[in-house]
Structures are given as C-alpha cells and as structure tokens.
Amino acid sequence: MEDKVMTWRPVRRLLAVVSPALVVLALLAYGLTRDPRAIPTPLLAQPAAAFTLTLFDGRQLRLEELQGKVVFLNFWASWCPPCRAEARTLEAAWQKYQAQDVVFLGVNIQDRDEAARAFLQEFGITYPNGRDAAGKIAIDYGVWGLPETFIIDREGRISYKHIGGLGWTTITTKLDEALQGIVSTEEGKGDYRPVR
C-alpha cells in the first residue's frame, strides 16, 4: 500500500503538470503554424458580386456583360512584387485562352494612375484593365492581399480564388476546371503582399 502510494503519487503529479502543458502546446502548435494574416474566403461557389469598372481606355465594363463566359479577375498593384512576377504569365495565359470564351480582367487597386499605366506598358498587358480607386470592388470581393485572383465560371459563380502570385499550371488547371463548371473547394495560395 505504501509502495503503491509512493509510485503513483509522482505519476499523478506528472500527469497533472504535463496534460495542461500538452493542451497549451497543442494550441500553440495550431496557432503558430497558421498564417495569422490569412483570411479564408467565404466566397467560393457564391455568385460573383456585380460591378462596373472604368477601364484605362475610358470604356465602362459591367460584369453582367460577361455572363456566359469564364472571367479571370485579377486584383493587382504596380508596387506589389508578386504582381510583377505573375504579370507576364497572365498575359501569356490570356493569349492562350482568349479564343475559348475566357475573359481576363485586371483591377488595379491602391495605386496611382500613372504607375498603373506604366506597369501595363512595361509588361505589354493587352487584356482589359481598370482602376478601382475607392476600393469598392476589392472590398466586395473580400480582397486583403495582393495579387488576388478570382475565377468566375459561366454561371457567374466564383469557382476559384487564389491569393498571391500565380504560376502557369495553376492558371491553366483552374481555367480548364472553370470551363467545365468545376468549383474548387479550397482557395489557393502563393506569395503575396498585404494590401496597404
């Protein structure tokens, strides 16, 4: 009996200290391995918010006009390095997909007009781009980092969201999926910069 007490007491004491510590450690592990800035979007498979964008050439473009087409909606700024990194890939993808009922659309946010125009010229961007100076479209799409890309399928649903720079494989895979009406269950992630 005495021996039992002698052997069990330290074990119980150890458990009493270790188990709360393990809980705290588990919480820490969970918290520290997540990106505290990441904001998971609730918009996947939801209808895309309507907007009217004034393009750099002065034309007005309404999202409703693109109904029935897949829309590749890219939010960018000239000061954001990942935006620069993906710019040429985006233009190349536009060249590949423009014949397939896919529309690329760039929305410039938190930027200056001349810097944005210089960016478009520098990378030879030919798909339509416009400025969202008040950030209303960006907020409507829950934008919090740059670049952010939304793919809107033929039915006007958001089929994919990507935060950060895009590579060729992701663009083509997700556009092909959208063309087939496949909606992603998770958003993608690459390098990004927080918006200002």
Partner: protein
C-alpha cells in the same frame, strides 16, 4: 450676456443680412454628419482591419481601412442598419472580419478558455490551500519505529559538532535527505528557542520531520552500506527548503487564515480583471487612447465633475468655441464644439452654439434640431431656450412657439438686462401673433432716451450716507462719458431716464449703442470710485432708446 448681444438694439434685420453674407462663405455644416460619423466609427470599431494586427477598421490609418470606412458610410447613408453593414462584411471576409469572434465552433475556446482557466486555477488553489492546511501529524507515519525516532532525536540534536565536516560529494541521496532533515530539525529547535514558533507548531513540525527522518533511516538500514559512515550523518548546510515554514501544519486557526488569504487573492484577481477590462474603450478620435475612464483618468465618463482631466478639456474646448464664436471664426467654433460633443454627446452649450451657427448659416431646420437636442439634455438651458425662440420667431414665424420658449426662459433666474430683452421680444412676438405690425422701438421713444431701474444687490448694504449720490454714466467704447446723470440721496429701486438732455459731449449724437454704468458715490462728487462706493453695469451694449434696462449695483470698492 450672449442673449443680450443677440437681441439688442432692434438691429436684428441688419445683423441677419450681414450673417447671411457670411453664410455664403460658411463651410457646409452637417449636424447629421456628426451622427453619421459616430455610427461609422461604431461599426468600424467592430470590424478587424484586414492588414493590421489587432486594430479595428475605425482605428486603423491604412488605406484599406479608410476605404472600408467609406463603404460603411455609403451603406449607412443608403439606409442600411449597422447590423446589415456588419453582415455585409461578414459575407465578404467571413467571421474573421469581426473583432469579437462569434461564440461557436473553434471560437468557443476563446470564450470558454478563460472560464476553464479560472476553474482550473480555483481547483489548484483549493487543493493547495487544503494541502497547506492539512496538519502533518504523526498519524501520517503510524508505523514509525520508536527506536528509530529515538535515534533521530539523538543524532539530530546532539551531533552538532559534525556539521562542519560533512562532504556532500560522497553521500547517497538518502543520506543527503537524512542530513537535510537533521538540519531542519536543528533549525526548528533554534527557531522554537528563539520564540519564532508556537509550541503547538513546533511539536507538529518536529514530529513530522522526525517521522520523515526515521523513515529515511529505516530505508538506509534496508540498503547495503555506503562507504560513507552513517555514524556521522550531519550535513554541512541545510538546503533552503529545509527551513521550516511557520505556515505549515498550523493549528486549526491557521487553516482559516490560509482560506481567507486564498479568497482575498481570488477577489483581487477578479477585481483586477474587471477594472482592467473597464479601463479599455474604443478610441473617440485621432488623439485619443484606448485606455480610459477612472483607472487612467483619460476617459470621458470616469472623472467626477470639477476634477482635472477631460472635464477641464471640455471646459477649455467650450471656452475656445465661445471665443471663436465671439470673433466670428465659425470654423474654429464648429471644430471646438464638435470636439466638445465628442467628449459629451449631449452637451447643451456646445449643441446650442452649433445650432446658433447653423441658424446664421440659414439652416433653420438643422439649427432647430441641434437646439432641441440641447433642450433634451437640459430643458431649462437659457441659451437654448433663447435660440429656440429665435428660430421659431425669425425663421418659422411660429410666434406662439417662440413666446412659449421665451416665457420658459423668463421663468428662469435671468439677469435683469437679459430678462428685459426677452420681455421685449415676447411683446413683439405677441404683437405679431395678434397680426399687428410691431412698431419700431425708436418710434415709440422718439427722444432717444434710455429708461430703466437701478437696484441694489441683496448682499450689499442699502444704507446711503447723507450727501451721497448715484451717477449714471453712458459711454461709447472707452471715450469720455457721453451722458451722465446725478441722483442725489437715491433710494432703491431707483427709476431713471437718461436722454440727450444729460449729454456731456457736444457734437456727438446720443444714439447707437452705449455702455451703461451706475456708480453710488458716498461723498456725492463725481470721479473715480473710492473705498465704500458701489458700482454696477449693464453687461453688453445698450441701444439708445431701449426701455426697462436693469442695473444692479453689485460691486463694492
């Protein structure tokens, strides 16, 4: 004072025309704007800025937060409720965007975690208190061999000489433990002799240590002998833990001490948590901090009136606003009163002044709204009552309403001069109400005479020595007296009439606005006041032709 200035002299139409000119350059005033600002701030304070760490949209200076505030403003202006605006942001950013996580799912941890922590802390505290309070008596070691106990007593208390020769290096852990217990017993005996322990505590602790030492000895005897001789077992130094704790194993009373201590500690922790929580609040402006109220003294509500801090700030802001108003710096006045309203939303003076500025800008409806808000806070606030009457009279032609407001005002304790002005306006309003055009004041009093009454302030002596005289002096600015009248051996109240016949300066017409002063000279001669003389003046200018002017002798030299 301000009242008198507003209504004085029958020059209202001229004043209004002039103010209307001002209105053209007046910046747009938006009282409703202030309310909207506040709503935007309240909604923004509940939203997390998407790129700042732990800042609300209301507090963040980032461009994104600015744009979000713009969206909040637009939606509120479009008629959405704050809840709908919050729901909009949730639909775009998810629950992440809410500063207070909603209590469901994983988020429950945030709400229940602290409660669980408190519960666990309580459990640990109770366990610890119970353990401390448990009396470590011999019953814990019922099987101790009496022979071993004797040996413990002998070795521990009689072998003090060996304390210095011990070599901890060559001892087994059991021997070290035995030596530690012996040292503790020695210190216990020393403390007992020194009177630091009660006999009961000493006995209890001694029995405990002896029993533990006996158990160690029994264990040592079961084990094969170590090279170190067990006959000289005393340690070099006692470890700090061997110092007996006076609190350990005390008598029954001690248990209550500990329990009470634990309860006090808990109460302190709870109070600290509560008050610290109370001392944080949303920022009310760019210069504000998140700490506030009575703990840090920076909050708007935690400071008793009259103490320093925000109350003084409020007074300073109001004074600055009045000063700006007086020098017709409308923007400065608006800024100061808006800041005052940020500290106290319903401050009647700030609201009334804003209303007066709005009125001068021609925004009669908004002015009326502001004045009504002031009266909602203080239904008898004189300036607001005056201004309400003015709005109703001048802009809305609601003479009955104006009369009602002004009569409420007259029921209040007004200075005689102010009461006279209000009475004149009430008369005029009555005339207009009866459909009679009001005759100009000057026409009724063609001679340009000022009439009124001089009274004595109640706290001053009414005695006037024989040969004393009252001088009534009218001046224009700082110039020499324009008109003076002498009343020998006056009795109060004294009715007076000051007209062109009393003029001192030839060539200066007795018209326009003058300052009026009454001086009671005990020696009856004109000149500056001497000790014992009394003086009273009408605050603000008096229009020549004005009737029923009241002067109170309230200053003694």
């Amino acid at each position: 004072m301000t009242i008198a200035r507003f209504g004085e002299g029958g020059r209202t139409s001229w004043l209004l025309a002039w103010l209307l000119g001002f209105w053209l350059v007046l910046p747009p005033l938006h009282l409703a704007q202030m309310e909207l600002d506040e709503q935007v701030r309240q909604v923004g304070a509940q939203l997390r800025c998407p790129l700042c760490q732990n800042l609300s949209v209301a507090d963040s200076p980032s461009e994104t937060a600015q744009q979000m505030r713009g969206v909040i403003r637009d939606q509120l202006q479009a008629g959405k409720t704050p809840e709908e605006v919050l729901a909009y942001f949730r639909s775009k950013y998810g629950d992440w965007i809410l500063l207070s996580p909603r209590p469901h799912g994983f988020n429950l941890l945030v709400w229940l975690g602290p409660l669980a922590g408190v519960a666990m802390g309580l459990a640990v505290a109770i366990m610890a208190v119970r353990r401390w309070a448990r009396r470590p008596g011999l019953q814990e070691h019922p099987t101790t061999d009496p022979a071993l106990l004797d040996r413990v007593r002998r070795e521990a208390l009689n072998d003090e000489a060996d304390l210095s020769v011990a070599d901890p290096e060559g001892r087994s852990p059991l021997e070290l433990e035995r030596d530690r217990l012996y040292a503790a017993l020695q210190e216990l005996a020393f403390d007992s002799r020194a009177g630091k322990l009660s006999p009961a505590d000493y006995e209890a602790l001694r029995a405990d240590y002896e029993a533990r030492a006996a158990a160690v000895l029994a264990e040592l005897e079961r084990q094969p002998r170590t090279p170190a001789p067990s006959a000289s077992p005393l340690p070099a130094a006692a470890s700090p833990s061997a110092v007996p704790h006076a609190g350990q194993g005390g008598p029954r009373g001690r248990r209550w001490h500990l329990a009470a201590g634990g309860v006090c500690l808990m109460a302190f922790a709870l109070a600290l948590g509560y008050f610290l929580g109370q001392s944080l609040r949303p920022r009310t402006g760019e210069q504000d901090t998140i700490t506030g109220d009575f703990l840090t003294g920076t909050g708007p509500e935690g400071i008793a009136p009259g103490s320093r801090g925000p109350a003084q700030n409020l007074a300073q802001l109001l004074a600055a606003g009045r000063a700006a108003y007086e020098r017709q710096d409308w923007q400065g006045a608006i800024d100061a009163f808006k800041k005052a309203l940020a500290l106290d939303r319903g401050h009647p003076e700030a609201l009334t002044y804003l209303g007066l500025i709005l009125l001068q800008g021609g925004h009669a409806d908004r002015a009326f709204l502001a004045i009504e808000r002031a009266l909602a806070t203080d239904p008898t606030y004189p300036l607001a009552l005056w201004a309400k009457g003015l709005v109703l009279f001048e802009r809305k032609q609601d003479y009955a309403g104006a009369i009602q407001a002004w009569e409420t005002l007259m029921a209040a304790n007004l200075a005689p001069a102010d009461a006279d002005v209000v009475a004149r306006w009430v008369t005029e309003a009555r005339q207009r109400l009866a459909g009679q055009p009001a005759a100009p004041q000057q026409a009724a009093n063609p001679g340009g005479t000022i009439t009124g009454t001089v009274t004595l302030a109640p706290q001053l002596s009414p005695e006037v020595p024989p040969g004393g005289a009252l001088f009534l002096i009218a001046r224009k600015g700082d110039s020499p007296p324009l008109a003076v009248k002498r009343f020998p051996n006056p009795t109060f109240p004294l009715t007076f009439s000051l007209g062109p016949e009393d003029q001192m300066l030839a060539g200066t017409p007795f018209e326009g606005e003058v300052t009026l002063l009454a001086r009671l000279k005990r020696n009856g001669t004109a000149g500056p006041p001497a000790p014992g003389d009394l003086e009273g003046r009408v605050r603000g200018p008096v229009g020549v032709g004005q009737q029923g002017v009241g002067i109170v002798l309230d200053t003694a030299y």
